[in-house]
Amino acid sequence: MSHMVNPLATPEQLYQRRSFGALPTELQDTIFFSTQCLTQAAGLLLQLPQSVTAQANVLLARYWLVEPMMSHEFSDISAASVYLIAKLSPYPRSPRDLALVYNYLLSPSSTFFHPSSAPASDDSQPPPPPPSPPTNIPNDYYLPEHVYNSFHTRLLRCESRILYALSFDTHVSLPHPLAITYLQALDFLNTSKSTISKRTLAYLNTALLSPQMLYLTSQPNALAVAAIYNAAKDVGAKMPECEWWEVFDVDREELGFLVVGMRSVDGWGRKMREDVERMKAGTESGSKRGGMITRRDIEGELRRRGISLGNGDDGGNTGVGSEEPVDMEAEMARRMDEKMAEIEGSAS
């Protein structure tokens, strides 16, 4: 049975997320979405099967319900979850592989989260100054030894942090195989096997990115059924007239919630990409537009909004206080800059 169930988030954990640090929820959602996208991109470049990358996605989501998002750099936590899951899978990857891949993804040369790589959504905004398509400059992602070493150290620290936060439970059951089994049971709804299967899996994979954390609130069987339902709607397949989802132990209410949740990720994702771009444009100098969001971006965004944030290293018990003395803020900014210097020095 353990192969079909996942540990789920408790209501307290979901509630507590709202009070972690002073991070407004929409920023948390943005961080969640972009980091999960980064994890997927890294999985592709590391040539990991989706079954491994998806598990890393779920692990990462769980981790962020236990520990505040700002306590580690987002990309480091993403790398550590991929490293950990791959290590336990038949496809282990070396720290150096991870360093190379993440170093590239975070470099200006990568297409990851750069405006030109975004799917066309031109109607929403006055077009930003024409983004120069990322040109491949190998120097951008050259990995000097000291950068690799510090990445490696952070990777191991994050790995043990994740394990500690999750009580060393790395078990993740994915709904993908279940979905295929259910489709077989439904005789693929009399449509093309590959079309509806692909669509179903696409919904399941997209759901990994949802800030609603569907994988932490529903068991795999429910996710599988909801994905099939959506896919069947999309391809116009005829579903059984009866309440067929009950055969797979999913009730109508949960199904409805998941169906809407899965369908909303697409629009949500587009909006969040725009948010990231806007944030990046606000913080970075013109030369380095786009790319993966970092803690520094979030801190900058918070400053702009007049929200102060504690160190974020532990507890996350800092409140929202916009009335901080100015020199405190400057002091904090200085400290952050120092902290970022090492990371920053490596990234370029």
């Binding site: 049975m1 353990s2 079909m4 169930v5 996942n6 540990p7 789920l8 988030a9 408790t10 209501p11 954990q13 979901l14 509630y15 929820t25 769980r62 319900l65 236990v66 490293y83 950990l84 290590k87 336990l88 038949p90 282990p92 070396s94 720290p95 490696h152 990777l155 191991l156 620290r157 790995e159 043990s160 942090r161 394990l163 500690y164 936060a165 999750l166 009580s167 060393f168 439970d169 790395t170 078990h171 059951s173 609603q212 609130t217 529903s218 068991q219 069987n221 309440e243 009950e246 132990d249 999913v250 009730d251 949960e254 919630f257 909303s264």
Partner: protein
């Protein structure tokens, strides 16, 4: 139940005394049980009442929940599904027309601190870490704390073997597999360096019992132990887990005669059919199957069954069955006991990487008149007191050809366990002084499980042709075939 046992086992004065004592204990237990049953009855009623109340509450909650949905910010509101599942699990039937299965996967959260436990005494410092007996302060329960060995210089992070052990034990729930209670860490959580696995505590391991007992286990006791071992392994194999380090020191026994498989440091999930490349360096040498010694990279649950055969033999004699000094010696000892492999008994063994360097008597030279003795005959010679069914079981477990070995579930059905003497009831097991409970154990001289990343030893050129001569000349009656030497060419 007691009467039956008496006729079979009360054959000496000592046994009779023990029997009487056990009987007394049993009566005491019976009384307690009756009392417990009464209590349970009362509790059950109470629970039913509670469940009904919960169902009502839940329905109300659902209604109010729906209301909330309408008012609150729609997308942000999280459904409290885990909570509801807990409430719904026992009352699912009363919910509505359709019965939906609720899956309970537990939850996740931070590790607790090791400071929740009081250390009582060290049990063992083994190759894979340190084990101590400890008491949980809150509940007073005695547990075993196993420290995960971490090499701070190892730049690949937490050892994958330790992580696999934790994950596999977490996934397992069987009475013959040691239970993992939780994982705790040292107090300084800024650096996770001290990781302890909290396991249920069992008083003994089979190895030290065997070393210290003046008389070997009775046939009925051997059967009970084997049955328990086997049902644990059947559970593991049906869940696609290979243990890969079965040996008597990894089998724990409590004072109630219950055997549990422990130490999953080498275990892993292996799909069926097995992947083409698994590490060959698994299983402690004396329990390692011949196909591993011959360098097979593709292997399956059969390697655990070979170890079961070795353990079977050890239970009978109190001595490890095949104490090879190194890989070559181990293989020699195996061929001594089981005979040499032939193309008929083990088709394809010559294709294994290390088999090429073996020099075996060609099948033509061992003429049809002097056929080499079968494994069964050799084993019968070694274990003269074992029944025919016992010999056939042991011989099949020790088949050189892995596909000839029974699976764990086949073994459970074996004739041997149905013959008299019947397996002894666990509760009737003799008790032993616990070393783990009181005192430090002496270091053992058994070889350790292979370390990850070690080089697989090349067997080099090994000449077994002399063995063929020995076996060819019908030395069936000999229990031990010494007196020949192994030439490294």
């Amino acid at each position: 139940m007691t009467g039956k046992g008496k006729s079979r086992w009360a054959d000496s004065a000592e046994d009779a005394a023990l029997e009487a004592q056990l009987k007394k204990e049993k009566e005491e237990k019976k009384r307690l049980k009756a009392e417990k049953a009464r209590k349970a009855e009362a509790e059950k009623k109470k629970r039913e009442a509670e469940a009904a109340a919960a169902a009502q509450r839940q329905q109300q909650q659902q209604q109010t929940g729906d209301d909330d949905d309408a008012n609150g910010p729609p997308a942000k509101r999280r459904r409290l599904s885990p909570d509801r599942d807990v409430a719904a699990a026992p009352t699912a039937s009363s919910n509505d027309s359709s019965k939906l299965l609720r899956f309970e996967g537990g939850r996740f959260g931070k590790c607790r601190s090791v400071e929740n436990y009081d250390k009582l005494n060290d049990i063992e410092e083994g190759a894979y870490g340190w084990v101590a007996r400890a008491r949980e302060i809150e509940t007073g329960k005695v547990v075993a704390l196993k420290r995960l060995k971490i090499d701070p210089k190892d730049r690949s992070g937490l050892p994958v073997t330790g992580l696999r052990e934790i994950q596999i034990l977490k996934d397992c729930s069987h009475r013959n597999i040691v239970k993992l209670k939780e994982v705790v860490v040292g107090d300084d959580t800024s650096k996770i360096e001290n990781i302890f696995i909290v396991l249920e505590f069992l008083e003994h391991d089979l190895k030290s019992i065997l070393e210290d007992m003046p008389e070997p286990f009775l046939a009925s006791e051997v059967k009970t132990l084997l049955l328990q071992l086997c049902s644990g392994i059947a559970y593991l194999h049906s869940h696609y887990i290979l243990h890969r380090d079965l040996k008597t020191s990894n089998l724990l026994l409590n004072n109630r005669g219950q055997l549990k498989i422990a130490d999953f440091g080498m275990a892993r999930y292996v799909p069926d059919p097995p992947p083409p490349k698994l590490t060959q360096l698994v299983v402690t040498l004396w329990y390692r199957a011949p196909e591993l010694l011959l360098g097979a990279a593709r292997y399956g649950p059969e390697i655990d069954m070979w170890s079961v055969g070795c353990i079977f033999g050890e239970l009978l004699t109190r001595e490890p069955l095949l104490q090879g000094k190194n890989e070559v010696d181990e293989l020699t000892k195996i061929f001594e006991l089981c005979g040499l492999p032939t193309d008929e008994s083990w088709p394809g063994f010559r294709r294994l990487p290390n088999a090429r360097s073996l020099r075996l008597p060609s099948s033509s030279s061992s003429s049809s008149s002097s056929k080499p003795p079968s494994t069964g005959a050799l084993i019968r010679a070694k274990f003269p007191l074992l029944t025919a069914a016992g010999v056939s079981l042991l011989a099949s477990l020790l088949s050189l050809n892995p596909s000839r070995r029974p699976t764990a579930s086949e073994m459970l059905e074996h004739e041997y366990f149905r013959q008299d003497p019947k397996p002894k009831q666990e509760a009737m097991f003799p008790t032993f002084p616990s070393k783990a409970g009181q005192e430090k154990r002496r270091r053992r001289e058994t070889p350790n499980a292979p370390q990850r990343g070690q080089k697989v030893q090349d067997l080099g050129q090994v000449d077994f042709s002399s063995l063929g001569g020995i076996f060819g000349s019908g030395r069936e009656r000999e229990e031990r075939g010494g007196g020949f030497s192994l030439r490294m060419v």
